[in-house]
Amino acid sequence: MKLIKKQIPLAIVFITGVLTLVSYYVPHKMSVNYIETINKWENIVVAFAFLLGLVSLFFSHYNKISRKVDGWGYSIFVFIGFLAMVVPALVSQGKQMTDTGFTALGWSYKFIYTSLSGTMFAVLAFYIVSTAYRSFRIRSLQAFVLFIAAFILILGKVPLGQIIWDWVLGWTGRGVNDVIEWIMQVPAVAGKRGIMIGISIGAIVTSLKIIFGIEKQYMGKD
C-alpha cells in the first residue's frame, strides 16, 4: 500500500520534475514536444476535474436547499444560473453568433454573464476607496510614508493638484510629474524587485523540496 500511495507518486513527481527542469536547458525538438505533451495532459486532467467540481457544486447547494440552511434561497440561483447558460448553449449548439445576430447563448453571455462580471469588477472601485480611507489613517511611520506617496500620486493625477503643486512648490523647479516618476521608477521598483527576488528564490527552493520528495505534505503523511 505504501508503494502505491507514497513511493510511486514520489517517483512520478521526481521523474517529471527532473525532466521538466532538464528541458529548460535542452532546446531540442524532443524537449519541446515533451513540454507540449505535458501541457496537453494537464488540460485533459483539468477538463475531467471540472466535472468533479460541478458535482461538488451541485452537491453542496442541493444539501443547503434540502436542509433549508440559512440563505438556502440563494442556492436555487446556482441551478437557475447554470440552466440559464447551459440550455441556450445546447439550443445554439455552442455558437454565440449567426448571420442574423446573437444566438440565445450569445445573448446570455453578453447580457447576463458579461454584465454581472462587469458589475463585480466595478465594485472594486468602491472597495479601493474604502481601503484607501483605512490605509490613510496614519498609525505608524510606514503608514505615514504610504500616505505621503499616495497623496503625491493622487495630487499629480488631477489638474487641480498640479496647479496647487505649481503654486506651492513651483519655486523648486520640479513638477509633480517628476516626483511621481521618481517614486514609481526608484523606490517602487526597488521594493518590487526585492520582493520578486525573494519570491523567485523561494519558488526555486519550494520546487526542489517537492521534486526531491522532502516536501510531501500534499500527499499526506506516513
Binding site: Y24, Y25, V26, P27, H28, K29, M30, S31, V32, E42, V45, V46, A49, F50, L51, L52, G53, L54, S56, L57, F59, S60, N63, D70, G71, L116, S117, M120, F121, V123, L124, Y127, S130, T131, R134, S135, K192, I195, M196, I197, G198, I199, I201, G202, A203, I204, V205, T206, S207, L208, K209, I210, F212, I214, E215, Q217, Y218, M219, G220, K221
Partner: protein, 415 residues
C-alpha cells in the same frame, strides 16, 4: 567584290559585338558579396539559421541588405528582411560572451525558418542569399549558401543559470542533511503566529473560518504552498473542534485540498469531524468566485479569513468584505501587485517567500525548516552580487571598460 564583302563583314562584326557588349553591360551579373555563410543557429530547436558575412566599412550611405531564403533547390526565394548596412551586427545577437564570438565587424542575422515555412521535417535543406542594395539598386549578391538546421541538445547560453542552480542544489542538500543533526533558528513570522489566535477566536465565537486558496492552478507554487498551510490550519481547526470552509476556484486544487484536509483531521485524531463539504467548488470564473465568496462571508460573518495563494483583482474584493465583516484576516500571496491591497485590508500579510516558508514554519519539521536557510543564503548571494555588480558596472561605464561591463552584464542576465 571580295573587298566589299570583307568590309561589310567587318562592319557587321563591329556592330554585332558592340550591341552584345552593350547588352552585357546593361544586364550583367552583380558583384559577389564576399564571405557570406549560412550556419545552424546554435542553442535552438533546429528551427533557425544564422547568416554571417563581414561588415563593409566602405559601404556608401544608403546601402542596405536584403535577405532571401528558399526551401527549393532552385528559385522560390522568400524575402526575409531588409536592413541598413550599419545594423544587425554580431554584437546584436543576444547571446553571452561564453556562447557567442560575434563582433561588430560582421553582420549576423538570425532567420526563424518556422515562421516562414511552418513546421518542416528534420534534415530539410534551405538555401539562403543576401543582396546588397545601394539607393534601391542591386549592387552585389552573395552566392547561395545551403544549410540543414539541426536541433541542439544544450543551451550553452544558460550555463550561468545552470551553475547557479547546481550551486543552490548543493547548498540545499547540505542544509537538509545538516538539519538532521542540529536545529536551526528561524525568525518569527507574525502572520503565522497569529493563526493560533485566529482559530482560537473562531472557536470561542462559535463562528466558521474561511480559507480561500486563491485562483491559481495546482501548477502554481503559491497554490502548492497554500495547500501546505491549509494542512496545518485544518489540523489546528480539528484540534480545537472548530469549523472551516474552503471555497475553491479550481477543481484540481479542490481535489488535492480535500485529501490534505482529510489527512489533517486524521492526524489530529478527529476523523469523525471531517465532512466532505469542507472543500467545495464555487466557480472557475474569477468574478463569479469573488461574488460567491463575498456573499458567504457577508452572510456567515466568519471569525477568521485566510487568503493564501495566487490572487488577482479579486484580492481586494474578498479582503475588503472580510474586513467589514469584522473577521481577523491573514493573507499571503506571491503576486506582488496585489500585496498592497492585502496590506491595507488584512491584519497580517505574508509576502511571497514567507508564504512558501509558511508550511515549513508551521509544521516545524527540521528538514523543511532547513530549506528556509537555503532561501536566506540565496538572498545573501543576490545581495552581494548586486552590490559588487553595481560597483563593477559603474566603474566600467566610467572608465570605458566595455569588456568588463559586458562580462558582468552577461553573467547576471537570463537567456
Amino acid at each position: 567584290m571580295t573587298k566589299n564583302k570583307l568590309f561589310l563583314f567587318a562592319v557587321l562584326v563591329i556592330f554585332t559585338s558592340g550591341s552584345v557588349c552593350a547588352a552585357a553591360k546593361k544586364a550583367g551579373p552583380a558583384a559577389v558579396l564576399p564571405g557570406f555563410t549560412a550556419e545552424d543557429m546554435p542553442y535552438d530547436a533546429g528551427e533557425a539559421v544564422l547568416l554571417r558575412w563581414p561588415v563593409n566599412p566602405a559601404a556608401a550611405a544608403g546601402t542596405a541588405y536584403e535577405i532571401y531564403v528558399s526551401s527549393l533547390e532552385a528559385g522560390g526565394w522568400v524575402k526575409v528582411t531588409e536592413f541598413d548596412a550599419a545594423a544587425k551586427t554580431g554584437a546584436d545577437i543576444g547571446l553571452p560572451f561564453w556562447a557567442w564570438n560575434g563582433t561588430k565587424d560582421e553582420h549576423a542575422v538570425k532567420v526563424e525558418l518556422n515562421n516562414l515555412f511552418g513546421n518542416f521535417p528534420p534534415g530539410a535543406v534551405f538555401t539562403c542569399k543576401a543582396a546588397v542594395l545601394e539607393k534601391g539598386a542591386l549592387k552585389a549578391e552573395s552566392l547561395p549558401a545551403t544549410i540543414a538546421p539541426q536541433g541542439n541538445w544544450f543551451r550553452l547560453d544558460r550555463l550561468n543559470n545552470l551553475i547557479a542552480l547546481l550551486g543552490l542544489i548543493t547548498v540545499f542538500f547540505w542544509a537538509v542533511s545538516h538539519a538532521k543533526r542540529k536545529g536551526l533558528f528561524i525568525r518569527r513570522i507574525a502572520g503565522l503566529d497569529a493563526i493560533d489566535e485566529a482559530i482560537g477566536r473562531a472557536t470561542e465565537m462559535g463562528k466558521p473560518i474561511f480559507y480561500v486558496p486563491g485562483i491559481g492552478s495546482m501548477s502554481s507554487i503559491s497554490t502548492i504552498a497554500s495547500a501546505f498551510i491549509l494542512g496545518e490550519v485544518s489540523k489546528k481547526v480539528a484540534q480545537y473542534d472548530s469549523h472551516i470552509k474552503v471555497p475553491h476556484y479550481d477543481p484540481v486544487v479542490m481535489t488535492v485540498c480535500k485529501e490534505v484536509v482529510k489527512q489533517s483531521y486524521l492526524e489530529a485524531g478527529r476523523p469523525d469531524s471531517y465532512r466532505d463539504d469542507i472543500n467545495h467548488f464555487v466557480s472557475a470564473d474569477q468574478f463569479s468566485y469573488a461574488a460567491s465568496v463575498d456573499g458567504m462571508i457577508s452572510r456567515e460573518k466568519p471569525a477568521a479569513c485566510f487568503y493564501m495563494g495566487h490572487f488577482m483583482a479579486e484580492s481586494l474584493l474578498l479582503a475588503e468584505v472580510g474586513a467589514t465583516s469584522g473577521a481577523i484576516q491573514i493573507a499571503g500571496t506571491d503576486v506582488e501587485h496585489q500585496l498592497p491591497f492585502f496590506f491595507t485590508a488584512c491584519d497580517y500579510t505574508l509576502i511571497g517567500e514567507e508564504l512558501y516558508a509558511a508550511g515549513a514554519y508551521l509544521s516545524k519539521e527540521p528538514m523543511l525548516l532547513s530549506a528556509l536557510k537555503v532561501q536566506d543564503l540565496g538572498k545573501l548571494v543576490v545581495m552581494v552580487s548586486v552590490f559588487f555588480g553595481m560597483i563593477l558596472v559603474s566603474l566600467g561605464a566610467k572608465f570605458g571598460w566595455d569588456g568588463l561591463v559586458r562580462v558582468v552584464m552577461d553573467l547576471f542576465k537570463g537567456y
